[in-house]
Structure formats: structure tokens, C-alpha cells
């Protein structure tokens, strides 16, 4: 090789090297753009899903566009990776040569996110469907609707209605949060759920007779019962036996962590008259700070660790689920891990739980000790580890003291007495066994299920108006002005109809409750209390304060 040839080769190599540096610069620019949230990340479509993406890009472009914005798309996790089905899956069908299923369950997500799926299966969220055997269920399926379809009573102009679906409220209401039992249509006109298929631990059905009854379309695709699917309720019962729905929080098909971190995401279900957690959060100082500082909260961060990635304000996820600097950034998918009271039942219970996550209700200390595997104190300490990122331990402890006092006040002054009154009326046969067919049953339901919860949830998340005016004020009004008079009236009616003993037993409970010091003002008057309060206020704020007597 002569010198001139060498010179030419060197020049060529130098250009190549410069080009490689240009490539590096280009990659750096793209990386910076992605970090700053501008510019589109590279989408990797694996060969297994190329046909899906091409076709659905035309037929359902929204799904594909959404997916293209996901982390899945960048990591090469595409349609088939999640929707793939195996032989024997009851909802599997061949779709242009690929065996797929429509519904992606936590068992499917667990193929990659195994630990998360397992933790979620143990969570209270995954068991949200269990409440559907409660008063709420009876309300939706019987009181609001009907367990059987019934005939319409007059024509609907422009719409041929031959049957009224009595479970419509349950399907569109309760089950869209709590989760349906996803079902396939049966050849005999019924529906087939996991209860019929009895899937094994791998999600495969064990009842072949039920599989044989699946109704399919001409292409062999199983047909879903439209009441139970579409459904993203968090306690959904899936055909493979898994519980819950990851997309309840991680909306498909972009599965945006940013969205899951925002309270609006939880607000699909945690709102309204019976558990207005979303509204309570918005009223609290936490919510006020979040609205103001949301843009600085680094919601796009990879791990989003409190104390490292942000500390401006908390969201629902921050306190109940996300990782923080004191636990190594470990996220939990079981929100019950950090909750020390359950305010769901009429009387709040301390969250001392057994190995299965059930609350231990025994009063025997030895039995409690043997059964409890995770104490409420431990759960509270986990929450405190979050709180203390912004608050001192003494501040946090004093807050919990205020919260405990409010819950205990509600329990002792209204919940336990209310339950005792309803109990004696039922025990004495003064109420029918049917719920919600008597006014006092609605009164009691409003008291604990709506107002009582609002008061307790309000105190748990520092929303004073929900604690007081939407909460304890309405509880008290409902108790004194409706529950007590209605209970007394039932007792009087009973006496008038010859049930003196039953009436006497009920009155004894009512009177016993009202004779307690905390209720004495109602029967005996409380002029002295008023004077004492006025005097205390005048001492505190000066003579003539609040002359109108108005408050609130």
C-alpha cells in the first residue's frame, strides 16, 4: 500500500468517525427530547404483533395511537405479548392465525409483572367484588332494579323494548368499580363465569361440560355476556380465576404511570356521597398544594420516589401506594398496607389483620395475638414513614390522635347506639327481615353508609367541611331527628298492636342510650351547656363576639 492510498483510507475513516460522532449527537438530542417530554420515543413493534398494529392502526387507530405512547411500545411489548392465549383458555380464539383472548387479566400481566400481580391479588382492591353480596348489592339488584327481566309497561317511541334488564344498575353502577364476574354467553341462554369453569391454578378450566356450552360466533370467537364485559372494576372475577383488573388504575392501552399517579385516576370510584375521598382530598391542604404544584411534581419520573423525585404535594398514590425515600422506593400494590382503620362498616374497625388479610374481631387478647399477623400499628407506621417526609413525628402523631378521637366519637356516640337500636328492633320482630322496605332502614343506611363515612374519611384526610357539615352534623341530625323518632314510633305502633314486651325492650334500649351523659342534652335540655359555651367563647374572643349567633 503506498502513501497516497493510505492518505485516502485515513480520510475515509476520519469521515466515518465524524459521522459516528454525529450519530452520537443525534442520539443524545433524541434522549434529551424524550426526557423533556418532547419528541416521540422509538416504537418497537415485534414481528408477532406487526399484523395487529397494521390492521388495528386502520380499524381502531385510537388503540394503536394510545399504545404507541406507552412504555410497552418502547420496550417491544405489543398486542400479542398481552393478548396471547394458550390452548385450553376458555376465552381464547384464533384471530388471523394467532391464538388470542380479548380480556387481559392480572394473570396475563403477571407473566412479566409477577411480583406486582401477586401482591395485587392479596390486596383489598382485588377483593372489591366481595362486597357485592352486601346491602349495596341488594339495593342495586332488587331495590333499584329487579333480579329477573320484566316487561315494559308502555312503548318507548323510537326504541323497541321487549324486556327490561333489571340488573342494569348493578352492571353499569356497582360492578364498574367493584368488578363483574366476567362471563361468556352459554348455548342454553345463560352465562358462564369462573364459577362454572372452576379454573385451576394455571387458569385452565376443570369443568369440561361448561366449556362445551360456550356460545361462539361463526369464526369461533366466544361471545361475552354484555352485562359483565366491558368491565374494568378493580375486583373483577376473571375467567382464568384471577381477581381484579390492572387496567382499573393503569388505563389501557398506554398504561401511563403519570396518570395512575394522579388523584383523578382514583376518582373514577373513590367519590360521591358514600365515600368522597376524591373530594375530601381536593378540600384538604394536600389537594390544594397538588393543584398548585402539579407541574413541578415530576409525574413523568421513572420511579417517582417521594423525597427523591418530588416532595411538593402528595396524591392518593403517594400515601397509599408509591415508594418513598424511607422504604427504598418500594411501591405497594396493596393499599391496605398503610391503612390503620377501616371506615367501611357501620362501626369502624382497627386493621389488625390475620394471615388472609381479614380483620381480627376477637376481644380475647390471647386469641388476638395468635391470629394477628400484621397489626394496625405496623400499617400506621408505614403510613407515618410517608407523612414524615414533610411533617415532624410529633405533628403526625398529633394528627393521628385527632383522627382516632373523631372515629371513636362517631363509633361510640352514634354507630354503636344506632346499631343497637336497629338490632333490638330486628330481634323483637318489629322490622321485617327484608331490608329497605321500612323508612328506618334507609335512615340508618344514610347515617353510617353516607354521612358516617364522610365524617370519618374527612377526618382521615384533613377535610374539615366533610368531617363536620357533610359528616358529623348530618350524622347527628339523622340520629336525633330521624332514627330516634322513627324507632320510638315503631315501638309505639308495636305497643298499640299488642306487642307490649317487644315495645318495652326497644324503648329500654332507646332510653338507655339517651340517658347516657353524651346524649343527656337531647332529653333534659342544655341551657347550662349553651351558657358555658358562650362564656368560654367570650373569654377567648372578647365580650359581644359573634352577636348574631351565626356560625358555619
Amino acid at each position: 500500500m503506498n502513501l497516497n492510498q493510505k492518505r485516502l483510507i485515513i480520510a475515509g475513516l476520519a469521515v466515518l468517525f465524524l459521522l459516528s460522532l454525529v450519530l452520537v449527537q443525534w442520539m443524545e438530542v433524541i434522549r434529551r427530547q424524550q426526557e423533556a417530554g418532547v419528541g416521540k420515543p422509538h416504537v418497537a413493534v415485534p414481528a408477532s404483533s406487526r399484523a395487529c398494529v397494521d390492521c388495528h392502526g386502520e380499524t381502531t387507530p385510537g388503540v394503536i395511537d394510545h399504545w404507541k405512547g406507552s412504555k410497552h411500545a418502547v420496550s417491544g411489548v405489543s398486542c400479542f405479548e398481552c393478548h396471547q392465549a394458550e390452548d385450553g383458555d376458555v376465552d381464547g380464539f384464533s384471530h388471523f392465525g394467532s391464538q388470542i383472548a380479548t380480556v387481559v387479566t392480572p394473570m396475563d400481566c403477571g407473566r412479566c409483572h409477577g411480583e406486582v400481580a401477586e401482591e395485587f391479588q392479596r390486596s383489598h382492591h382485588a377483593k372489591a367484588g366481595n362486597i357485592l353480596a352486601s346491602l349495596d348489592n341488594f339495593l342495586a339488584e332488587t331495590v333499584e332494579g329487579a333480579r329477573q327481566p320484566f316487561n315494559p309497561h308502555s312503548p318507548t317511541p323510537g326504541k323497541a323494548v321487549d324486556k327490561v334488564n333489571g340488573t342494569a344498575s348493578a352492571f353499569s353502577g356497582c360492578q364498574q368499580c367493584h368488578g363483574s364476574a366476567v362471563s361468556l354467553r352459554s348455548t342454553d341462554g345463560g352465562r358462564l363465569s369462573m364459577v362454572d369453569f372452576q379454573p385451576d391454578e394455571n387458569g385452565k378450566p376443570t369443568v369440561t361440560e361448561a366449556v362445551a356450552r360456550i356460545l361462539r360466533d361463526d369464526n369461533g370467537k366466544p361471545l361475552f355476556d354484555s352485562g359483565t364485559w366491558p368491565n374494568t372494576g378493580i375486583g373483577r372475577l376473571n375467567l382464568d380465576g384471577s381477581r381484579g383488573s390492572c387496567s382499573a388504575c393503569h388505563s389501557r392501552h398506554d398504561f401511563s404511570p403519570r396518570r395512575a399517579r394522579q388523584p383523578e385516576n382514583c376518582g373514577k370510584c373513590h367519590l360521591g356521597p358514600d365515600h368522597p375521598q376524591k373530594e375530601i382530598f381536593e378540600e384538604s391542604k394536600h389537594g390544594v398544594a397538588y393543584r398548585d404544584l402539579k407541574e413541578d411534581m415530576n409525574l413523568e419520573a421513572e420511579d417517582w420516589v417521594l423525597g427523591e423525585d418530588y416532595s411538593q404535594a402528595p396524591t392518593c398514590a403517594t400515601c397509599h401506594l408509591s415508594g418513598h425515600s424511607r422504604n427504598g422506593g418500594k411501591i405497594t400494590h396493596d393499599p391496605g398496607q398503610r391503612i390503620s382503620w377501616t371506615n367501611r362498616p357501620p362501626i369502624s374497625l382497627v386493621m389488625d389483620t390475620d394471615a388472609e388479610g381479614k380483620i381480627v374481631k376477637s376481644l380475647d387478647p390471647a386469641e388476638r395475638e395468635s391470629l394477628i399477623t400484621d397489626t394496625a400499628e405496623a400499617k400506621r407506621n408505614r403510613m407515618k414513614a410517608v407523612c414524615t417526609h414533610c411533617h415532624t413525628p410529633s405533628y403526625v402523631n398529633a394528627f393521628y390522635s385527632q383522627y382516632d378521637d373523631l372515629v371513636i366519637l362517631y363509633n361510640e356516640k352514634f354507630a354503636k347506639p344506632g346499631k343497637a337500636i336497629m338490632g333490638v328492633l330486628q330481634a323483637q320482630g318489629l322490622l321485617t327481615p327484608t331490608q329497605f322496605d321500612e323508612q328506618i332502614e334507609w335512615t340508618w343506611f344514610y347515617l353510617w353508609h353516607h354521612e358516617g363515612r364522610r365524617a370519618r374519611h374527612g377526618a382521615s384526610m384533613m377535610a374539615p367541611d366533610y368531617t363536620h357539615w357533610h359528616g358529623m352534623y348530618e350524622v347527628a341530625e339523622r340520629f336525633y331527628m330521624e332514627l330516634i323518632p322513627e324507632a320510638r314510633e315503631i315501638a309505639m305502633e308495636a305497643r298499640a298492636h299488642g306487642k307490649a314486651n317487644a315495645a318495652q325492650a326497644a324503648e329500654a334500649v332507646i332510653n338507655g342510650i339517651l340517658a347516657r351523659p353524651e346524649h343527656a342534652w337531647f332529653e333534659e335540655g342544655a341551657e347550662g351547656e349553651m351558657r358555658a359555651i358562650r362564656k368560654q367563647m367570650e373569654e377567648r374572643y372578647g365580650q359581644g363576639s359573634n352577636p348574631s349567633g351565626a356560625g358555619g
Binding site: 502513501l3 460522532l21 452520537v24 442520539m27 443524545e28 434529551r32
Partner: protein, 352 residues
């Protein structure tokens, strides 16, 4: 030459009294003609990569923080956040990999061509010292990442050193700065990796090149080749060859750093031993050997092999003097290379 440049030349001559002639003589040593063959230029490759490693290493040291609480996070910062950090780290990683590979190739070339024989025995030993220093640089460098595998790799390495008879305890103590891996171990590795070992390597390179210059490059003649002239000029002919190799290396490094960038595993967790511990690829051979035999035997035999490698020129001379098998070294070399390759591939293929 115009008047101004003449004046400048004179000014420089007065302050640096070296004439152009002397300079030309110093740098323009005649290069044997066989160096026109590419594989004879492999000696310059590690030197070139070493320069790349120093440059990228200095850049990395700007951000790296050698303490257990900060090391992993600083490497993550370099990889994910610092401008061009991923590229610099990728270059450093691949330059190290290629440097070790080219050192091994260079040593194989020297071995199989018998270039270590009299009077170059000492330079072979200097080369062996350079190989050991390079391997130690690889070991300490990987440990600095402080990810789970690198932490456990370092721990296993220290324990291996510790199981050596007599000096093991002291050696492990020196490596870790205590009986166990502790808060001061990383800074020890960092000083070794970024200061002590590079300085040692620079000195060894100085000795290595000086001995080459003093003894001249081994001259080879090839069958069927009539050398028209025995030598060609270092400048600019051989320099251009080296420049070409350097540019090819730079392009290769750039491509490797972008296509296969340096990754970052889970952070070190001293309480959880990973199921599979693997060192860097260049230690696979020793790792497999250690797994095949009991600790002390494996260590002593490894030490013995390294010792034999160091003194090989003298053994070879003795064999050549005493026996008829003048080229026995070639066959021994082939067996050794196959053994090294076999053990390395074996370790790479198995999970445990």
C-alpha cells in the same frame, strides 16, 4: 522558509536545544518490513485504547463518587442523565474489553512467532506484568459500578485471594481495607483503578517501548518473499498505518457504544446473594478452573501457571538447548490457547 518562521525556529532552538535532525532520528526509527502485515501492529492497539481509557476515565471520574451509598447512583446519573454520559461510559467499557482482547492477541502473536527469545526475555516479563496490571484494572473497574453482580464479583475475588495459603489473609485485608467488604473498600478500588494501576501501566509501557527501541524490533523473513528492502520509515509510513488502526478502532468503539451501550443492573445488595455470580468475561477461564478444583489447589495451580508464563522464555531456551523439540513451544501454545478458549466458552455457556 520566510524570515518570520526562521526567527521563530531560532527562538525555539535556543530554548529547546534539540535539532530537527536529532528529532527525526529519534522518531524515525527504521521499521522492519514485516510490520506492513497488520497482525504485527497489534502491540500499538492496546496502547491506543489505553489513551482512550484515560481520556474517558477522566471524564467519568468527574461524576463518579466512590462510596457504597453514592457509587451506584453516580453511575446511574452518568448513564441516564449526564450529557453524553452513556456514550463516554460505553466507550470506556468497550475500550477496556478491546484492550484486554488486543493485549491477549498481541501476546499470542509474540509467543507464536518466538519474539520473546533472547535477548528479549525481560521484555516478555514486562509484557506479562502489563497483562496482569490490565486484568487488575478490569477487575477494579467493574467493581466500581457497584451493581449487584459487580459487588458480588468483587466479594468472590477478595475471598479467593483470602483463601491463598500464608499471604491470603493479608492480601484480602489489603484489597478490602478490612476483614469484609466495607464502606472504605470502594475508595480503595477507585484509587487502584484510577491512579495506582494506570501509573504502573504507564511506567511499564515506558520500559516496554524503551526495550523495544534499544533492542530493535524482531526481524522476520517469510518464505517465498524476497524483501525488496528490509526497512521502511516510521514517519510517515508506519504512523499512517497506526493512524488507520486508531481510526478503525474509534469507529468500532463508537458503534459498539451506541449499539450495545453499557448497561446497569440492580444495585448492590450485600444481604442478598444472587443466584448466579459471574465475573467479567476475561476471568471466565480462572473462574471455571476454580470451580473445577478445590480452592487451594485451584489457586496454587493458577499461580503456578502464571509463574510459568512469566519465566517461559527461560524454560523455552532450556527446552531448545536440551532437546530436539525446538518448536515444542508452538504445540504447547496451541494446547494452552485451546484450554483457555475451552474453559472460557464452558463458563460462558453454563448457568452455574
Amino acid at each position: 522558509m520566510n524570515r518570520k518562521s526562521l526567527a521563530l525556529s531560532r527562538w525555539l532552538q535556543e530554548r529547546i536545544p534539540v535539532s530537527g535532525e536529532q528529532l527525526r532520528e529519534l522518531t524515525n526509527e527504521p521499521v522492519p518490513h514485516h510490520l506492513k502485515r497488520w497482525w504485527f501492529a497489534l502491540g500499538g492497539t492496546p496502547a491506543y485504547l489505553f489513551v482512550v481509557l484515560i481520556a474517558t476515565g477522566i471524564s467519568l471520574a468527574i461524576y463518579y463518587q466512590p462510596a457504597p451509598t453514592t457509587a451506584y447512583e453516580s453511575v446511574r446519573y452518568i448513564t441516564e442523565e449526564a450529557a453524553f454520559g452513556w456514550f463516554i461510559r460505553g466507550l470506556h467499557k468497550w475500550a477496556a474489553t478491546l484492550m484486554i482482547a488486543s493485549v491477549i492477541l498481541h501476546q499470542m502473536r509474540v509467543y507464536f512467532t518466538g519474539a520473546y527469545r533472547k535477548p528479549r526475555e525481560l521484555n516478555w516479563m514486562v509484557g506479562m506484568a502489563m497483562l496482569m496490571t490490565t486484568l487488575m484494572l478490569g477487575f477494579t473497574g467493574y467493581s466500581l459500578v457497584y451493581e449487584q453482580l459487580s459487588f458480588w464479583g468483587a466479594t468472590v475475588g477478595a475471598n479467593m485471594a483470602g483463601s491463598m495459603p500464608v499471604v491470603g489473609g493479608l492480601l484480602k485485608q489489603l484489597m478490602l481495607g478490612g476483614a469484609e467488604y466495607n464502606a472504605r473498600t470502594l475508595s480503595r478500588f477507585f484509587v487502584l483503578h484510577a491512579a495506582a494501576l494506570p501509573v504502573l501501566l504507564v511506567l511499564l509501557i515506558g520500559v516496554h517501548i524503551s526495550l523495544i527501541r534499544l533492542q530493535g524490533i524482531t526481524e522476520f523473513e517469510f518464505e517465498g518473499e524476497e524483501p525488496p528492502k528490509k526497512h521502511f520509515n516510521f514517519f510517515p509510513d508506519h504512523l499512517m498505518t497506526e493512524l488507520m488502526i486508531g481510526l478503525v478502532l474509534m469507529v468500532v468503539l463508537s458503534v459498539l457504544a451506541t449499539v450495545l451501550p453499557a448497561t446497569l443492573g440492580p444495585p448492590a445488595d450485600p444481604l442478598t446473594t444472587p443466584e448466579v455470580i459471574k465475573p467479567e468475561w476475561f476471568f471466565y477461564v480462572a473462574f471455571r478452573w476454580l470451580k473445577l478444583f478445590s480452592g487451594t489447589f485451584a489457586l496454587l495451580s493458577t499461580g503456578f501457571v502464571v509463574f510459568i508464563m512469566f519465566v517461559w522464555p527461560f524454560i523455552d531456551a532450556w527446552v531448545r538447548r536440551r532437546t530436539r523439540y525446538a518448536e515444542a513451544s508452538v504445540w504447547i501454545g496451541i494446547v494452552a490457547v485451546l484450554a483457555i478458549l475451552g474453559l472460557t466458552v464452558w463458563e460462558a455457556l453454563v448457568a452455574h
